[in-house]
């Protein structure tokens, strides 16, 4: 049933909304000061949408709802990117009512592919991909070591955080921060940060569910 998935998304949404000003401040430094506002607007809409959702839906349905809502409420660059990511994760989880590490890895891979197709960016261009790709690799590495889903998520989260740190050292060649050239160096990418926050919220949520 979808209650678990909905609760997970709610945890993610809360993390984003809590960090609204923080994300906006990061975007002010190298972008146009709206990333937190955009993402918070999107997740507020998501929370409202999920509240009304029938509990008899699979994970895929929940994620598709999230993706469509983000696409139609976030706008900017992050809206289509995160929206596409959730839509692809939805497609990769059709008929699933619970998740194991393998399924989660597939979904994450699908999401990342979606972002790359939509945004035509690569790792190393100072975007959300610099958090997400290392996170995926860490997740898979954990899986190969037979770790639990929660452990894999925590490894992914830690790798994402390192990715966020890494974005401070490089210059942007995609997105609005690319206009800054050299001046973008030294600043942390807002989209990488929101990606990390989502993974961290998800890992925390799953850990709490376990404990």
């Amino acid at each position: 049933m979808s209650a678990y998935a909905i609760a997970a998304i709610q945890a993610i949404g809360e993390a984003i909304i809590t960090n609204k000003e923080n994300l906006t401040a990061l975007d002010a430094a190298i972008g146009d000061a709206d990333h937190g506002i955009n993402m918070a607007r999107g997740f507020e809409a998501v929370m409202t949408k999920l509240t009304g959702l029938e509990p008899d839906k699979d994970i895929s349905f929940v994620l598709k709802t999230v993706g469509m809502t983000l696409i139609s409420t976030v706008g900017g660059a992050s809206g289509p990117l995160y929206g596409t990511a959730f839509m692809r994760a939805a497609a990769a989880s059709q008929g699933k009512w619970s998740l194991d590490a393998a399924a989660a890895a597939q979904m994450l891979a699908a999401a990342i592919t979606g972002i790359k197709e939509r945004g035509k960016a690569q790792r190393g261009e100072k975007t959300m991909l610099d958090a997400l790709e290392p996170a995926y690799e860490a997740f898979v590495a954990g899986m190969e070591e037979q770790r639990t889903l929660v452990e894999c998520l925590e490894l992914a989260r830690d790798a994402a955080l390192q990715g966020v740190e890494y974005t401070k050292t490089i210059i942007a060649t995609k997105g609005r921060a690319s206009y800054l050239g050299e001046r973008s160096r030294g600043h942390q990418d807002p989209g990488a940060t929101s990606a990390y926050l989502m993974l961290a919220a998800l890992a925390d949520f799953c850990r709490r569910q376990e404990g």
Binding site: A28, I30, D32, G75, P80, K174
Partner: protein, 331 residues
Amino acid sequence: MKKVINKPEQVVEEMLQGVVAAHPQYVKRIEGFNVLVRANGPTAKVALVSGGGSGHEPSHGGFVGRGMLDGAVAGAVFTSPTPDQVYEAVKAVDGDKGVLLIIKNYTGDVMNFEMAAEMAEADGIKVDKVVINDDVAVENSTWTTGRRGIAGTVLLHKIAGAKAETGADLTEVKRIAEKVIANVRSMGMALSPCIVPAAGKPSFTLAEDEMEIGMGIHGEPGTHRENIRSADEIASHLLEKIFADMPLQQGDEVAVLVNGLGATPLMELYVVNRKVAAVLNAKGIKTAKTFVGNYMTSLEMAGFSITLLKLDAELKALLLAPADTPAFVQF
């Protein structure tokens, strides 16, 4: 934050209501969407849809009307609109001859408009797009995102709009639009920041003696900062950057747009235009038409941009053709 607004979250909605209340003879709103379309549309011609984040008024809603746009989509302030909004606009303006999307080159705008195009095409609507990237502050070669679209967009609306009005087909209107894009260059500067209502504070600060050169229209930092110089020096510098990118010869003819970003008085824009005219004259470049005013703003940012559009006979005739919209009227 000193603003004449009610609630920050309501500002786009209330602005749109205010526009429709002011100009019912020009525009109507698509119920439930942040989309303005011609009051008398759709018309049996290629339709033009543009849009982007709000905060650039009169762009783009102010240019909906005869001889310019058919629809304009308003995103949140400085945030590109979502695909469903653009999709509604496309559906509403399509008069069976197809729709051309005019997109300013920002990652978000391009992605959202493209998603909308996919949605409309799935409905069997003929949709094509052009992406304008007139800002020479951002060097095309170095940054893979490419240049931004700024004030030159208004001249694109004007000329593509005039072409569509002639009954030309989508391919032809797109060809003209691409020609404008190939021949239009802009560059701007800012003296002071602006405040996005939902953010409540400026996204950057400038010292009392500083200006930002190559400023974007969303408060994105420019190429560099320096001490304020005279209007003539600033104008010369911006023009040099434009000439470096688009060499102009003696005898060439251009259109000039000296565009205010919001808080710069018309008086100062005209002081700038004096220098622009002097530089063009000295180079033997003819000016077919000059526009001075707030066309593509950045809320209450102080600053301006200069746009030059190199004309041929075709572009010139379309530029000088009549237009009748809330913010651009020409006999």
